[in-house]
Amino acid sequence: MDWQTLADALFPRGHSLSEIDHFLSGIAQSGEQTIAVVGTTGHAPIGVEIALAQARFVLQTVREHAGKHPRPPILMLVDTAGQRLRHRDEMLGINSYMAHLGKCVELARREGHKVIALVYDQALSGGFITSGLMADACYALPDATIRVMGLPAMARITKVPEQRLVELATSNPVFAPGPENYLRMGGVQDIWRGDLAAQLEQALATTPAGDVRSRLGQERGGRNFTQRVIEAIMAGSDVLAP
């Protein structure tokens, strides 16, 4: 879905989003609230510049509303082919730029801004780890592509035959790409169908406090060990709960 169509569906009451070089930002109306919106378009690879641009927007939003109540929510719109794979980005320290964006999102959260993310097209691996996956909750459209790596490449690197990965993917959400699997594993809070504007309003009204994804993964059966391991360590136990 192109971002303009998405924006019209999300914000029937209006928005002022604009895009430069795949960097998307602006403000929009959702219900009675004005929200700040930032993200990427066109399956943009995330390099140092676009990571920094997103961070700048988040910092500006925090600074602009410092001391005021309530703080506007921030919506991150995710469409990325993953981290940019260039010597230059590594030389400059792209991990630092990504971390900086993640820290800015965290700061916004601590300052009272709700942060939610919507994967509206692609979300590959490192491209959304400090945007979508740092939000209070990450949502996805049903046709979104969410994955770490394509199965053929994964087969090459792990030396596991692709056919085997495809087979396993039907019963284990761990390998298979897609929003349904991330939903089951707790990485995605929900998948938005139908009235996107209404879904957004509801999401803003039900933002979780704290990182609930390990518990969701347990409840939904997509990750059966994470929450139990965390709880065992918290409790000082050397055995997992059954």
Binding site: V48, L92, G102, L133, D238
Partner: protein, 302 residues
């Protein structure tokens, strides 16, 4: 072997933990005898490890209570799977709850464990949030990066969410590995067999000069120990939590980096621009000589 000479690089994760923290002080959480292994590797006919490749627990360091985690680079490249990631998250959440003074992360990892793909990616993201939650609770989180596999992938991002990073020259810190970049964009883009280039681009000395790590030590467990103690003290002398001023300062530095160095093609050019007189000699200097030559010129790190 004299402990002073013990290589950090060549030590296993367990050896690093035994030798770096106060003698006999380390108590492991969910030890190997608990047999909390990966639930996913078996289906792929891959071997498991009883600790899923990471040792976590508590210890004292210079008499101070700390929590510690050490990734085993020899198992699956130290990569993060479901259980491995959950151990890190559990450790950090418990440190926050108990207001432990510091967590020391001995990282050595390729990032997300591809065999556990989605679980690994979500886990790394949960570690990131847990690091920042711990910092907000007053816990100093310090990264040590001196293993042969480096700190790559999403964990390279996690490292830059911690309060401080100590590296050796041998250590590497980056996001995508040179082989991945070469496969995606060609050998002209990044020749992964050019070791000197790989270390100029991702190694400890370059990261120190850029301001991405706060200390460089020789490849010695004893030196990493001393630097960890110093880093914790420095972090705890100010707030461990994120602040707007700190992030704006970091933002300015990162912007300046692009402006000043964005058109350069080799880190040697960056070092020259920073005022290093003979950049080509940097790789030859030992840790102490390097710090003496570099500290006046490095960018201020956050």
């Amino acid at each position: 072997m004299n402990n002073d000479m013990r290589s950090y690089l060549e030590s296993t994760a367990r050896e690093r933990v035994e030798r770096l923290f106060d003698a006999g002080s380390f108590v492991e959480f969910l030890p190997p005898s608990s047999r909390v292994i990966s639930p996913h590797l078996g289906q792929l006919d891959a071997p498991v490890a009883f600790d899923d490749g990471v040792v976590v627990g508590r210890a004292t360091l210079g008499g101070q209570n700390v929590f510690a985690a050490a990734q085993e680079g020899g198992f699956m490249g130290g990569a993060v799977g479901e259980v491995h990631g959950a151990k890190l998250v559990g450790l950090l959440r418990r440190a926050a709850a108990e207001k432990i003074p510091a967590v020391v992360l001995l990282l050595e990892t390729g990032g997300v464990r591809l065999h556990e793909a989605n679980a690994g990616l979500i886990a790394v993201s949960e570690v990131m949030r847990a690091v920042l939650d711990a910092r907000a609770a007053g816990v100093a989180v310090v990264t040590l990066a001196g293993g042969s596999n480096g700190v790559f992938g999403g964990m390279g991002i996690v490292a830059r969410c911690t309060n401080a990073i100590v590296m050796s020259e041998e250590g590497r810190l980056a996001m995508s590995g040179p082989e991945v970049i070469e496969t995606a964009s060609g050998v002209e883009e990044f020749d992964s067999r050019d070791r000197a280039l790989v270390w100029r681009t991702t190694g400890g000395k370059h990261r120190y000069l850029l301001g991405d790590c706060q200390a460089i030590v020789a490849d010695s467990v004893v030196q990493f120990r001393a630097a960890a103690i110093e880093a914790i003290a420095a972090c705890r002398s100010r707030s461990t939590a994120l602040g707007l001023a700190e992030l704006e300062q970091e933002h300015a530095m990162l912007g300046e980096r692009i402006v000043r160095f964005g058109a350069m093609s080799d880190p040697l050019e960056i070092w020259a621009a920073l005022g290093i007189e003979e950049p080509a000699t940097i790789p030859m200097l030992d840790a102490a000589q390097f710090v003496a030559a570099a500290s006046a010129h490095r960018m201020g790190g956050c």
